[in-house]
């Protein structure tokens, strides 16, 4: 059935027709498109189709296998819930941008070759920027600009890698990279920038929290998880991903703990979670890759749920800083419950979806004897509960009552959150449908008594640490410096520095060449005869041993002669001869 429409095109066509559809019908259309697309993906059979010619090569728009289908499912499920959550939006602009963005990410996931992948990659970068700009604030414009610049840079790395790869191997197909050469590393860098790997991670925590309420929910799922997909496809078992993944897992936690803005806390926890997935890709065994896919699947759902609950709070209160929020459990109990389900799922609390996916990655690491990876991931697991599992709900819904009484979120938002919360619980208790769609056969059981007990200990004592150290975790109205400092502040400092150096040089040159030298020249040429004679005769008299008194007398004689004009030859003749002599000298030397 690969002759059917590629999922990407369904979204693109939907995006093009959306502005033409009037108000109420549009609300139906935005959820119908993902639902239709989900159904289309279930009907896709393994194989490839939709071949086309570009740049003299045969390219593949639709490559269907278990890996691309797994991502296709979750992308459309998330799109369905996100559009339902965004049903209140009157204008079509954000919906169209979101449809292009989601469609492009589906296109990237189903692309069979590097060139198609690159094209969808760039559409994603551009379309997603509009979800940030749609906030229509000065901050959002600036963040959106920085966001798209970083992604264009990543895209260029990717493109350079593709061109070198095609040049050296002649192949355009997107398969696992076998040789560790420059092209492969450039492509890896392009992927890692989209996966928000430090030091190229700041675009995420910088831009996502500036997006609109609904745009943020859509953004969290696609860019980083498309990158995870491409890494699973292209770089399974590359050890460097273990290092990157471990760094990301810890980095996300530390920054999330320092952060004050609730949506930025959640943005940093994306980096932390993608770290787990990258570790799975780095381990590279079938269990680990299954774990990475399963974790991406669950992560998209619970992360969207967390962003929805944060989005509902932002929508109702207009505030997103922990220092402004607190005590919302009194008037937003449903949002609190949904948010807590998301928080428990991200912490991989037994009974929630994270618990049936993340341990696969950790266990795969243990099978390979990777002690350090195991240790870092266990520490990071404890840290997740700390920053996303407790900190986010605690400071937003409990903590100090700030007197906000916003009321519950609109019904369609609650329905969307209920849908995602249900999936979190469903996959937590009954993960078999998820395991059935993973790329490889699954032999994994999360719910052994011992493992569940260990996990409960780990998490509950993390919670104890949170409450005992609460005074150290008090929110402050601050931001934290991240690597975006280099292009936000560093750029300005560089400008100031170059301004000082080059304009300083300019001023000095102006002083010397435009003022000092002409001054000297005019003084000289006022009576060139005198100055020339002085120039030549003074050293000559000095050599002869004339005293200062005698020297001064000689000078006065020269000046007197010059003022009286008593030269054997005129000054003009003297200068003309000198000039001609110089010219002839130059002529002969040339």
């Amino acid at each position: 059935m690969t002759e059917w429409l590629p999922p990407a095109l369904v979204f693109f066509i939907g995006a093009l027709f959306l502005p033409l559809i009037p108000g109420k019908a549009r609300k139906v259309a935005i959820v119908a498109v993902p639902a239709l697309c989900f159904w289309l993906i279930t009907a896709l059979e393994p194989g490839s189709g939709w071949h086309y010619q570009l740049l003299g090569r045969e390219l593949t728009l639709l490559r269907v296998d278990r890996l691309s289908k797994a991502f296709g499912y979750v992308f459309t499920i998330n799109a369905f819930a996100a559009f339902l959550f965004a049903a209140h939006l009157r204008s079509w602009h954000q919906h169209v941008a979101a449809m292009f963005y989601i469609g492009a990410s589906l296109g990237a996931v189903f692309a069979g070759d590097l060139i198609s992948l690159y094209l969808f990659w760039e559409v994603m970068a551009v379309a997603s920027t509009f979800l940030i700009l749609a906030r229509r604030s000065e901050k959002a414009y600036r963040a959106g600009f920085r966001y798209v610049m970083v992604h264009l840079f990543g895209g260029l790395c990717f493109l350079a890698g593709i061109l070198l790869h095609i040049h050296s191997t002649g192949a355009v197909g997107f398969e696992a990279f076998a040789d560790r050469s420059l092209p492969a590393y450039l492509i890896l860098l392009g992927f890692l920038i989209n996966a928000a790997a430090p030091p190229f991670s700041a675009w995420l925590s910088d831009a996502y929290p500036e997006a609109t309420v609904t745009g943020g929910i859509i953004l969290t799922a696609y860019t980083t998880k498309t990158a995870v997909y491409t890494l699973i496809r292209g770089f399974p078992g590359w050890e460097i991903l273990l290092v990157v993944g471990c760094v990301m897992a810890l980095y996300g936690i530390v920054y999330a703990i320092l952060e004050n803005d609730m949506r930025r806390i959640l943005a940093y926890s994306i980096i932390n979670q993608v770290g787990f997935m990258l570790c799975g890709v780095g381990i590279g065994t079938t269990l680990a890759l299954n774990g990475a896919v399963a974790h991406a699947f669950c992560h998209i759902i619970y992360k969207a749920l967390l962003w929805m609950s944060a989005g509902a709070v932002l929508y109702m209160t207009g505030k997103s800083k922990c220092t402004d929020l607190g005590g919302l459990y009194k008037t937003m109990p449903f949002t609190l419950i949904f948010g807590c389900i998301g928080a428990l799922a991200i912490s991989s609390f037994p009974g929630f979806s994270g618990y049936t996916s993340k341990p696969m990655i950790i266990e795969a690491g243990v099978h390979e004897g990777l002690y350090w990876v195991w240790l870092v991931l266990e520490i990071a697991s404890a840290g997740v509960f700390l920053h996303a599992g407790i900190k986010f709900p605690y400071f937003v819904f409990f903590a100090k009552d700030k007197g906000l009484r916003p009321g519950e979120a609109p019904l369609h938002m609650q329905v969307a959150m209920f849908f995602m919360a249900f999936l979190c619980l469903f996959l937590g208790f009954y993960p078999q449908p998820l395991y059935a769609i993973l790329p490889f056969p699954v032999h994994f059981e999360a719910y052994t008594f011992e493992h569940t007990l260990n996990q409960l200990q780990l998490l509950l004592f993390s919670a104890l640490a949170f409450f005992l150290f609460l005074p150290m975790l008090k929110r402050t109205a601050t931001i934290s410096l991240d690597t975006d400092w280099f292009y936000r502040k560093g750029g300005r400092l560089f400008y100031r520095w170059t301004d000082r150096v080059f304009n300083g040089l300019n001023n000095q040159a102006d002083k010397i060449f435009m003022r000092r030298l002409p001054d000297l020249a005019t003084r000289f040429f006022r009576s060139p005869g005198v100055h020339l004679q002085k120039l030549i005769l003074v050293p000559y008299y000095r050599l002869q041993g004339l005293g200062t008194v005698a020297l001064r007398q000689e000078m006065e004689r020269i000046e007197r002669r010059a003022t009286e004009g008593s030269y054997p030859v005129g000054v003009g003749v003297l200068l003309a001869v000198l000039f001609l002599a110089a010219m002839s000298l130059l002529f002969f030397m040339g």
């Binding site: 936690i253 530390v254 703990i257 320092l258 459990y329 009194k330 008037t331 109990p333 243990v366 002690y371 195991w374 266990e378 520490i379 404890a382 840290g383 509960f385 700390l386 409990f398 009552d401 009484r405 916003p406 009321g407 519950e408 011992e450 007990l453 260990n454 996990q455 409960l456 200990q457 780990l458 998490l459 509950l460 004592f461 993390s462 919670a463 104890l464 640490a465 949170f466 150290f469 150290m472 975790l473 402050t476 109205a477 601050t478 931001i479 934290s480 410096l481 991240d482 936000r488 502040k489």
Partner: protein, 83 residues
């Protein structure tokens, strides 16, 4: 939904104390089976000690919090820093 349906159960310190007691009991309950269970180890024998994961979780978070706090002195800036 109207705001008069608010719940302020946690405003009462008595209730917070109750929650805390339940939480402590849960903590004890998760560690208790360790004393009667034969635990498997992944890398080292120390993992079989009772409450290993409890201690691990607590210490990990304590270290993470302290390290973050220290880094905070270095990294935190006023909100208008970039403006």
């Amino acid at each position: 939904m109207k705001t008069d349906r608010k719940c302020d159960w946690l405003d009462d310190p008595q209730n917070i104390r109750k929650v805390r007691m339940i939480f402590y009991m849960l903590l004890a309950l998760t560690v208790l089976p360790d004393f009667f269970l034969h635990k498997h180890t992944l890398f080292y024998h120390v993992e079989a000690w009772p409450g290993f994961y409890a201690a691990g979780g607590f210490l990990s978070c304590a270290v993470i919090i302290v390290v973050s706090k220290l880094l905070g002195f270095l990294l935190k800036r006023k909100e208008d820093y970039y403006d």
